[in-house]
């Protein structure tokens, strides 16, 4: 009896999981199949589901109209640069909070997180003025800095949580062995925290890659990443759904593939410490 209950429960849970997963994935699926439709099919009512004439025409049009690879390269530079900078600042910061806390550490952590509670729009004008004054508007450095600062609180929080899991005695042993602070971090802490650092890096790359508010507001052409590439297809002269879908598919593809291959690492990192 108990076994049957477990079985039906498992079936129900599996069904619910599949339905939920499908619901979450559906927009992406819709986007991908729309990108292979003609513009006419894309508008068709009732919507056509796989029973249309497949074409790759949209992709060649999109590539002809705007240079995909230039935008993609910018996305790589911006998310990579922001993540690298984030690690350089985040690892030492998280180290000090985890292993040399003061009585204000908790408050500092909360305060950092609180900066994420304000909508970005709230500081758009000051940042805009500041960037014009610094000459950072539409530059790689300017975008890297804003993405780096935007994600830094999350990075430090994540790294801090992972570092907390590492026994302090091991770092003390390194100190007794004559390691300086920096060597202690490089040779002992970082290698031990690799899963945590890896998932922090992945999440940060994904967040920076998908960040749209600042990348759209602070770039025009030179530093514009894939978010700007997508946005350029939602133009006031009328929407071309199929082409917009093709552009979107191209824009999310790299990060989708990266996420797919690193999902094990990502899940392990995000649940690290939750289960001993």
């Amino acid at each position: 009896m108990a076994r049957r209950a477990t079985f039906s429960r498992r079936v129900t849970m599996t069904a619910i999981t599949w339905v939920l997963a499908f619901a979450i994935f559906f927009p992406i699926l819709w986007m991908i199949q729309t990108s292979f439709k003609s513009e006419l099919d894309a508008f068709a009512l009732p919507p056509k589901f796989f029973n249309f004439h497949w074409t790759t025409e949209n992709y060649s049009v999109v590539q002809d109209r705007s240079d995909y690879f230039r935008f993609a390269l910018n996305s790589i530079i911006l998310s990579g640069g922001a993540t690298l900078l984030g690690l350089l600042v985040g690892i030492p910061a998280a180290w000090s909070m985890a292993f040399a806390p003061t009585k204000n550490t908790k408050q500092v952590l909360l305060w950092m997180l609180s900066t994420k509670m304000m909508p970005a729009t709230g500081v758009l004008i000051p940042i805009y003025v500041l960037y014009q004054w610094l000459g950072w508007f539409d530059t790689h450095i300017g975008l890297i800095i804003i993405l780096f600062l935007g994600n830094l609180p999350i990075m430090i929080w994540m790294l801090y949580t992972y570092f907390k899991e590492i026994p302090g005695e091991i770092l003390e042993a390194a100190r007794m062995d004559g390691a300086t602070r920096w060597k202690e971090i490089v040779y002992v802490l970082a290698p031990m925290a690799v899963p945590g650092i890896a998932s922090t890096v992945l999440l940060n790359v994904i967040l920076s890659w998908n960040e749209a508010f600042w990348t759209l507001n602070l770039t025009t052409t030179t530093a514009a990443p894939l978010t700007a590439f997508i946005a350029s297809y939602s133009s006031p002269e009328g929407l071309f759904w199929a082409k917009l879908s093709a552009a979107s598919t191209l824009a999310v593809a790299p990060i989708l593939i990266l996420g797919w291959f690193s999902q094990k690492q990502l899940v392990r990192g995000l649940t690290f410490g939750a289960v001993k």
Binding site: E169, I170, E172, A173, A174, M176, D177, Y187
Partner: protein
């Protein structure tokens, strides 16, 4: 060389005074054991010597050089931690070599020293394994290997055996004692286990609430404890103590007698009692007695004496081995 001098060492955590002021001299080559109940400040004292903790006041000198403000690395000490604290991502070889690598020693010299230490501690067979693949005893040996390759002025041990099972603990205890005989380097060893203290130490420092209660050789502490705390802490089973008429009759506030310093008889003696529990250890039998008018008493009897719960026995303390204490718990000289 490895002479360590603590002068007025004080440590507070916020308002909590952990060590109110300790003065202690550890001579070069001594095996010193800090012993005391948990929370007595013995580990804190060790960490202060290591430099892992900052003192609130006082001075520490190693070989007559003030190291009060020196970082751990500059003190020339090695430490073995309770949790072993091995680097889990490195092989046994790299674990042992780490300190030498940090010191910038040439590679071939490191290899030579690591091999020597590995041989000394029988680590040869698993030198390329990770700590995760080793047993508790093997890990402990790696931790000791990591400590000895650096040829420190002194070794600091922080309850190194408390994670091992009983049999292994005895074996490692002997290995550490042997190591001390071979290296003749100063060792400071923290434990709450008085058996470890008595068997290993040249000098025992008994700590209680951050204060040093007594410093002396194991035998000194056993034979002439300075106060009631030391009397009850050193020796197993614990010394019997009585206050009341029995003590007053002998001109003391409290008297103490160890279980092994009483004569047990079935026929006659000073005190008559009933056995409530008899623990047969083979070589010895420990009897827990109820003695009307005196209180509960523990005595040691012969292993073959054949006493059982419910038996009536007579015990007589050997007066020469009796300890007398005044009202403040201090021993009469």
């Amino acid at each position: 060389m490895g002479k360590i001098v603590l002068k007025d060492i004080r440590k507070t955590f916020g308002d909590v005074v952990v060590i109110p002021g300790v003065n202690l001299t550890i001579e070069d080559g001594q095996f010193v054991v800090f012993v005391g109940p948990s929370g007595c400040g013995k580990s804190t004292l060790l960490r202060l010597i290591a430099g892992l903790e900052d003192q609130t006041g006082g001075h520490i000198a190693i070989d007559d050089i003030d190291v009060t403000d020196a970082p751990p690395a500059k003190r020339g000490l090695s430490m073995v931690f309770q949790s072993y604290a091995l680097y889990p991502h490195m092989s046994v070889r790299s674990n042992i070599a780490f300190g030498l690598k940090m010191a910038g020693m040439p590679k071939d010299e490191i290899a030579k020293k690591v091999d020597h230490a590995a041989k000394m501690l029988n680590l040869g067979d698993y030198i390329d394994r990770r700590p995760g693949q080793l047993s508790g005893g093997q890990r402990q040996r790696v931790a000791i290997g990591r400590a000895i390759v650096r040829e420190p002025k002194a070794f600091l041990f922080d309850e190194p055996l408390s994670n091992l099972d009983a049999a292994l603990r005895v074996q490692m205890r002997q290995e550490i004692t042997k190591l001390h005989q071979d290296l003749k380097t100063t060792m400071i060893y923290v434990t709450h286990d008085q058996v470890e203290a008595l068997t290993m130490a040249d000098k025992i420092v008994v700590l209680n609430r951050g204060n040093i209660e007594q410093v002396g050789s194991p035998l000194e502490l056993y034979e002439s404890p300075r106060n009631l705390f030391v009397a009850k802490f050193i020796g197993s089973p614990t010394m019997n103590t009585f206050s009341g008429p029995e003590a007053q009759r002998r001109g003391a506030a409290t008297i103490g007698i160890r279980p092994e310093h009483m004569i047990v008889s079935r026929t006659d003696g000073d005190w008559k009692g009933t056995v409530s529990i008899a623990e047969h250890l083979g070589s010895d039998t420990f009897l827990y007695l109820d003695v009307p008018g005196v209180g509960p008493i523990t005595v040691r009897a012969d292993g073959e004496a054949g006493f059982h719960a419910g038996d009536t026995v007579y015990v007589s303390p050997v007066s020469a081995r009796m300890h007398r204490f005044d009202e403040s718990g201090m021993a009469f000289k």
